[in-house]
């Protein structure tokens, strides 16, 4: 992928070279980029934790391996969490943390990304469709540095993943609802990944009892057994699924592998994890949430923004990377879903 990007980025230059020079240099470039690619991807193949640097910036984020396996999805608490059913999940990496404003702001403002990079952005990154720069303060006074990015739509979260892909050459995407719950449970079968005692939540999560009504800098609490920080509380996290309240009732026949609920309509989208304003009950690992049109209620413009929810300061994202990346075509299909108009 990296060398494909490299070649595309240098297409104009290539066209200017005469045929003789091209035939001479192309094999050399291919060998060098193939070597760089192999060298760069080597540690990833070992399915270990790794740090993803974001090129042309000082930002990076950590990814932790989530081993494949089978788990019991759902709970007996709420109707939409039933029945509890078996689901098989393929291995993937997941972000150890929620994506911060420090990273998200590079994506949302190309000129800012450009200013930080101090050299021209690659053509594809330059041409990417970006969020409208929000007229409102989307941090809602809660700060940026180390704080989770908030208020983006599912479309915005997906386009952020695309930006990451164009920057790094690695397929990042949103977790499915099943992947999210599997990773959050981390092999446990209790209310929380650490057991059933809500009194212990404060060690692991920011929620209504300890957050002071604001988002908190990532990674200050203990992680879950698979190394995921703030997986409960702080901000809710986007999944790539549609929220379908009776989805689980249709999965009783067989053990489904990597179930997905593709987006058919703008609302409701599937969201997980509770947030800084949630009660302990809403921080349960099986608790399901969904997006609402009313979160754009106070957007004074029509059409309403495809990118922002002015009234969802509790909603963020965490990325995943499947261990086995799909084909280039599948990747582009995933990212290039057109936005759905919102009045």
């Amino acid at each position: 992928m990296i060398w494909v990007n490299f070649l595309l980025a240098h297409k104009n230059t290539m066209n200017k070279l005469n045929k003789f020079l091209r035939t001479l240099f192309l094999p050399v470039i291919l060998v060098v980029t193939a070597f760089l690619f192999a060298w760069k991807s080597l540690p990833f193949n070992q399915f270990e934790p790794y740090t993803q640097e974001i090129p042309d910036s000082k930002q990076s984020f950590q990814m932790v391996p989530i081993p494949g396996g089978t788990f019991a999805m759902g709970s007996l608490v709420q109707e939409d969490e039933q029945p509890v059913h078996k689901v098989e999940i393929s291995p993937f990496w997941m972000g150890a943390h929620e994506i911060t404003w420090d990273i998200f702001e590079l994506f949302l403002d190309k000129n800012y990304e450009q200013a930080i990079a101090e050299k021209p952005l690659p053509t594809q990154v330059d041409g990417l469709s970006r969020p409208s720069i929000p007229y409102l303060d989307m941090t809602f006074g809660m700060g940026k540095e180390g704080k989770p990015a908030i208020g983006m739509t599912q479309y915005g979260a997906l386009q952020f993943c695309k930006w990451l892909y164009l920057k790094t050459g690695i397929f990042y995407r949103l977790p499915t609802e099943a992947e999210w719950e599997y990773a959050a449970k981390a092999g446990s079968q209790s209310k929380y990944f650490f057991g059933n005692d809500a009194a212990l939540l404060g060690e692991y999560a920011w929620y209504d009892r300890n957050s002071g009504g604001t988002t908190q800098a990532i990674g200050q609490k203990k992680p879950n057994p698979w190394g995921l920080y703030d997986i409960l509380g702080n901000v809710m996290e986007w999944t790539s699924d549609q929220y379908v309240n009776d989805a689980y009732t249709k999965r009783v026949e067989t053990v489904e592998k990597d179930p997905r609920l593709p987006i058919q309509s703008l609302y409701p989208g599937s969201i997980r994890g509770g947030n800084y304003k949630s009660t302990s009950e809403d921080l349960r690992v099986s608790k399901r949430f969904y997006s609402k049109a009313e979160w754009k209620r106070i957007d004074p413009q029509i059409p309403k923004s495809q990118w922002w929810f002015p009234e969802a300061p509790f909603l963020g994202l965490r990325v995943v990377r499947p261990m086995n990346a799909p084909s280039q075509g599948e990747i582009m299909n995933y990212y290039n879903r057109p936005p759905i108009a919102d009045y």
Binding site: E105, L108, D109, N111, Y112, A115, I116, S132, I133, P134, Y135, L136, D137, M138, T139, F140, G141, G143, K144, E145, R297, I298, D299, P300, Q301, I302, P303, P313, A341, Y343
Partner: protein, 439 residues
């Protein structure tokens, strides 16, 4: 000259008209079809961008019997982009805008206004004085967006038309929507009742990352380019201190029940220096002094990557105040005891409330809203701030309001030239404090 406001405090009290304000509710009659027995209210929208379109939605969503009959915008494509979602959502019974009532160009607003009982004025701010003046002249009920002008010349026009609107008993609601937002209403009411004593200082902010840019297209005239990027040109926008920060300065004036007598400050272009950013500054930092000696500190900037802050804080003799558009409204005694903390959940949408209250008054035949004068003076506060940062000099309210500098082009047409033009490399001249004459 009435607009030379020698006693801002008394004048404010006399003219402020936010529901609980000083205006007597007086009946009036609507002209046209509405008065002739139909309960249908005809509206026209002038300026069909995202905000104008949004305001049309809000007018419909009041639930009254409203029909959109005319649309005007300088750009034909803007009319079409606006018409489509309006028609799709509200349908042919509510949207009756045939080709001959879609007015593209600079002059179409006059015809569009004629066709309506109520007009929505949402073009870029530079056009507002002319549009408002025309709507008042034609005796229409008015919703207009903030800010209401971009220089003192425009402000004087708006103030004169505001007086005329009062004489004609025309309801005028201005989109300084904090006046229609519960946390502000409830908290400011308590401040005025003395909950934190006399307000003796404050800090108001609009610090965030900036707004959109539309790249220059081949074949665009200079006029079209500037119109497509109106945010970055003072004759259209007034700089972000006027276009955005007017909200926070307006809150300071509201809380103080007054307008500043002078301003002193600094500003410039520090991080947003590209040619695509026209002539406006990226930061302004100002102290506004009020007649009683109170100093309000104001700061606005467009710095991506830096910490955002959009809110208002005030200090009183007995306690302090925190307000934000995120429904904060907190009054605290010195020492920390909470006096009032507005419940942030389930507050009404202020953009909708503006229209609900305006159309409710119109349907009942009541004269309740005269927002234009305060909007003009709060806009003038922001313009005064810009004069101070652009010049680097202390400038008084009276000097500023009497400035005869007129930023508008001599002629409005696609082939006409705005007054500020790019150099050979495409960069626009911008103000240099200590050197630039602004008033």
């Amino acid at each position: 000259m009435e607009y030379l406001n020698k006693n801002p405090r008394r004048d404010f009290l006399k003219t402020s008209a936010i529901v609980t304000g000083g205006l007597m509710i007086q009946p009036f009659s609507l002209s046209g079809a509405y008065a002739a027995g139909s309960d249908e209210i005809k509206i026209a929208v002038i300026g069909c961008g995202g905000r104008g379109t949004g305001a049309v939605f809000q007018a419909f969503d009041t639930g009254h019997n409203i029909k959109l009959v005319a649309m005007a915008d300088a750009f034909r494509d803007r009319i079409d982009k606006s018409y489509e979602p309006i028609f799709n959502k509200y349908g042919k019974d509510k949207v009756d805008v045939p080709e001959e009532r879609k007015f593209a160009g600079f002059e179409g607003y006059k015809e569009a206004i004629k066709l309506a009982d109520v007009v929505i004025l949402a073009a870029p701010p530079g056009f507002r004085p002319d549009h408002f003046e025309e709507a008042v002249k034609q005796g229409k009920q008015i919703f207009m967006e903030k800010p209401v002008a971009i220089d003192a010349t425009g402000i004087r026009k708006v103030l004169a038309a505001a007086e005329e609107a009062k004489k004609k008993k025309l309801n005028v609601v201005v989109g300084l929507q904090r006046h229609y937002q519960d946390n502000y209403r409830e908290t400011v009411k308590r401040i005025h009742d003395g909950a934190v004593g006399d307000i003796i200082g404050g800090q108001v902010y609009w610090n965030d990352g900036g707004v959109w840019v539309n790249p220059r297209q081949p074949g665009q005239t200079e006029m079209e380019y500037q119109m497509r990027n109106w945010y970055y040109f003072n004759w259209l926008c007034g700089d972000h201190i006027v276009e955005q920060h007017v909200h926070n300065l307006d809150v300071a004036n509201w809380v103080k029940n007054s307008y500043p007598v002078k301003a002193y400050g600094t500003g410039g272009r520090q991080v947003r220096t590209g040619k695509e950013y026209g002539e406006i500054f990226d930061h302004h930092s100002i102290t506004f002094t009020y007649a009683d000696g109170t100093v309000i500190f104001s700061e606005c900037r467009h710095f991506p990557g830096a910490t955002n802050r959009v809110d208002e804080r005030f200090q009183g003799t007995k306690g302090n105040v925190y307000l934000s558009a995120g429904n904060h409204g907190i009054l605290t005694e010195w020492g920390g005891k909470e006096i009032y903390n507005h419940n942030r959940d389930n507050n009404p949408n202020p953009y909708q409330v503006e229209h609900d209250e305006l159309f409710d008054a119109i349907v009942k035949g009541e004269y309740k809203f005269a927002d234009a004068e305060n909007a003009a003076k709060s806009t003038m506060t922001a313009i005064l701030g810009r004069y101070a940062t652009y010049s680097g000099k202390e400038i008084s309210w009276d000097e500023a309001l009497n400035s005869t500098v007129d930023l508008m082009p001599e002629r409005l047409a696609w082939d006409a030239m705005p007054k500020v033009l790019p150099n050979e490399e495409g960069f626009y001249p911008f103000a240099i404090p200590g050197k630039t004459k602004v008033i």
